[in-house]
């Protein structure tokens, strides 16, 4: 039931999301979210004690992000991404089409192992530099990085912050999701590649105008051997921990410490805390308080009733409905807030185990792939174009937007189709 405070809770939540997206007055996302969480407490929608237990209740997620951002920073410092890009360049043998496949595969691997954001943030500039050296237009490759980061991020429960939040909140065993998610990820990445080839069939020449010498690319020998071993050990450790259903947060933090140790002993050591996403931690903690405010006001339960009311007993229908609803939500309020709201709604809906499992898969697919509708996130894209105009730069708006409009539905349908085939008991 909606409580009388519901309108206030919704207003605070939406105002916060607006601040997070628009970032006025040089506000960061973390500060904006913190202000929103503070407003929830000041307005009496969440008691200070409840806010503290919200944050504490997300210890697993927070620890995971601490370890993840730290591990991604170690990977970047180690030259791993440059080596990966260098291998892609060599494998392409000067063929722009093969280069696109190599970039997509490299992006998919990074996204699956180190999260979508790390893949997009770190790999995009590396790939841009590589493509520019071939004398090719970077646009298809930049968009490929952006899109594959999300398309492949449904692969594992750890590949996207959304996945961690959803599995943590719904209490679904991470290991039990892997077969479904991994297959769905392969389907969405293949669908993405197909889309890119159809869209750019004319822009990708048969040969790159310039073919740099193959020894001019970064190679794996530049990455300290100990770190390579540590990365390998980390992947195995993570697989074992997931199979044993150990909590993801401590595992990720342990992996980070292992990588730092390897970095230390290979005399590659920079500043260990550089690159750790403190603001992400503040953002996630604040978001948990904000969503508690919505939850206490009865909004997430109302949302669950609206979305799942008719279909709650059919896992297949639950999966489809949650996927589309969370895709829409991710485009309206960004993916992390949408994932928080949906996870809470589904959690409180008291679904059967099979339906909860299906809801987890559906929410992950929708909230991971949905934001691809536009290259920089729906609302943010509009702001981006305004900003470009202010800077006197002209870019062709339509050439960016149309790609996402094609890629997003196709990848969601591909992933959902595969997930329905193998992930729903019948």
């Amino acid at each position: 039931m909606l409580t009388p405070t519901a309108p206030l809770a919704v207003a605070i939540f939406l105002a916060t999301v607006a601040l997070v997206i628009a970032k006025p007055w040089r506000l960061t996302e973390a500060i904006a979210a913190l202000l929103g969480a503070g407003a929830m407490v000041v307005a009496g929608l969440v008691s200070p004690g409840a806010a503290a237990s919200d944050v504490y209740g997300h210890w697993n997620v927070l620890l995971f992000f601490l370890g993840l951002t730290g591990a991604a920073a170690v990977a970047e410092r180690s030259g791993l991404f440059d080596a990966l890009a260098g291998t892609s360049a060599k494998l392409s043998a000067g063929s722009p089409r093969r280069l696109l496949v190599a970039v997509v595969v490299a992006g998919a691997i990074v996204a699956a192992l180190l999260s979508n954001d790390a893949a997009a943030l770190v790999l995009t500039p590396v790939v841009y530099v590589l493509v520019a050296r071939f004398g090719l237009s970077p646009l298809p490759y930049v968009l490929a990085c952006t899109f594959v980061a999300d398309a492949a991020s449904i692969a594992l429960p750890v590949s996207n912050p959304v996945n961690v939040i959803v599995t943590d909140r719904l209490g679904v065993s991470a290991a039990s999701l892997v077969p479904v998610l991994l297959s769905a990820a392969v389907a969405s990445v293949v669908a993405l590649l197909g889309c890119l080839f159809v869209i750019y069939r004319r822009q990708l020449p048969a040969r790159a105008p310039v073919v740099p010498r193959s020894n001019s690319w970064a190679s794996w020998t530049a990455v300290p051997r100990r770190l390579l071993v540590a990365f390998g050990v980390s992947i195995v450790a993570f697989a074992v921990a997931s199979a044993a259903d150990l909590p993801l947060g401590p595992t990720m933090a342990a992996v980070w410490l292992l990588l730092l140790g390897a970095e230390w002993t290979s005399s590659h050591f920079g500043r260990p805390l550089e690159g750790v996403g403190w603001s992400l931690l503040v953002f996630v903690a604040s978001m948990s308080v904000l969503v508690d405010g919505l939850s206490s006001a009865g909004i997430t339960a109302w949302l669950a009733q609206q979305i799942l009311g008719q279909v709650r007993d059919s896992p297949a229908a639950v999966m489809v409905v949650t996927a589309f609803a969370s895709a829409v939500g991710a485009n309206l309020v960004n993916n992390l807030p949408a994932a928080f709201v949906f996870a809470d709604a589904v959690h409180g809906a008291g679904l059967s185990a099979a339906s909860a499992h299906a809801a987890a898969v559906g929410t992950i697919i929708g909230a991971d792939l949905g934001p691809n509708l536009t290259p920089v996130g729906s609302v943010a894209t509009l702001l981006w174009f305004v900003l470009l105009r202010q800077r006197g730069l002209e870019v062709s708006t339509w050439s960016y937007i149309r790609i996402g409009l094609i890629v997003t539905p196709v990848t969601i349908l591909a992933a959902l189709g595969v997930a329905l085939l193998i992930g729903v008991p019948r």
């Binding site: 960061t28 954001d117 500039p125 520019a132 952006t146 822009q203 503040v282 996130g377 943010a380 730069l393």
Partner: protein
């Protein structure tokens, strides 16, 4: 009369390595009819030009600003509160890569044109922005005898109507302040 005739060669999307040969045939001795520098069309083609005039080629390469903006800006917006690379540093890295690619492309074309048009004076020009606008702007600034354009070959038979060339060539054909020489092999 032997005056230098300047041509602007827009390299955006140009792939055909034989372009240099084709340009040489068009602008060198025995070339096609091109309005002279004095603005009077010479219907007799090469016959109207008494001696082989000196040719000056300006090779124009346009770095597209859109993808660079996207690569530098997208993370900051889309990727929310992730630890972000410094924007200025990132833009610098991307611009450097673009310059390296531009230099490599221009060096390759320079060689081809030098071989096809011995003695021609060849200059390089790098612009950054929307290719179609930069090409038109460069034509207006340099005021060449002609702007030479070799749009990307389209697969299959050439479509009739407005889609017979891509949007860059279409814009340039519509807005060029100087005559456009469109070179394309059938």
């Amino acid at each position: 009369m032997s005056e230098t005739r300047r041509f602007l060669v827009a390299l955006a999307g140009t792939e055909d390595p034989a372009l240099a040969e084709l340009v040489a045939r068009a602008v060198g001795a025995g070339g096609v009819a091109i309005p002279g520098a004095d603005g009077v069309a010479s219907p007799g083609g090469a016959a109207a030009i008494p001696s082989t005039p000196a040719v000056e080629l300006t090779l124009l390469h346009v770095e597209e600003s859109g993808p660079r903006e996207l690569a530098a800006y997208q993370p900051a917006v889309r990727r929310g509160p992730w630890p972000l690379p410094k924007r200025a540093e990132l833009e610098h890295r991307l611009a450097d890569a673009d310059d390296e690619g531009a230099a490599a492309i221009l060096a390759i074309w320079h060689e081809r044109f030098e071989a096809a048009l011995p003695g021609a004076q060849i200059e390089h020009l790098v612009a950054c922005g929307l290719p179609e606008r930069e090409i038109v702007a460069a034509a207006a600034r340099l005021d060449p005898v002609a702007l030479i354009l070799s749009p990307r070959p389209r697969t299959g038979p050439t479509e009739p109507g407005p889609r017979s060339v891509g949007h860059v060539a279409r814009f340039v054909l519509d807005h060029s302040p100087v005559p456009v020489l469109l070179i394309r092999r059938g």
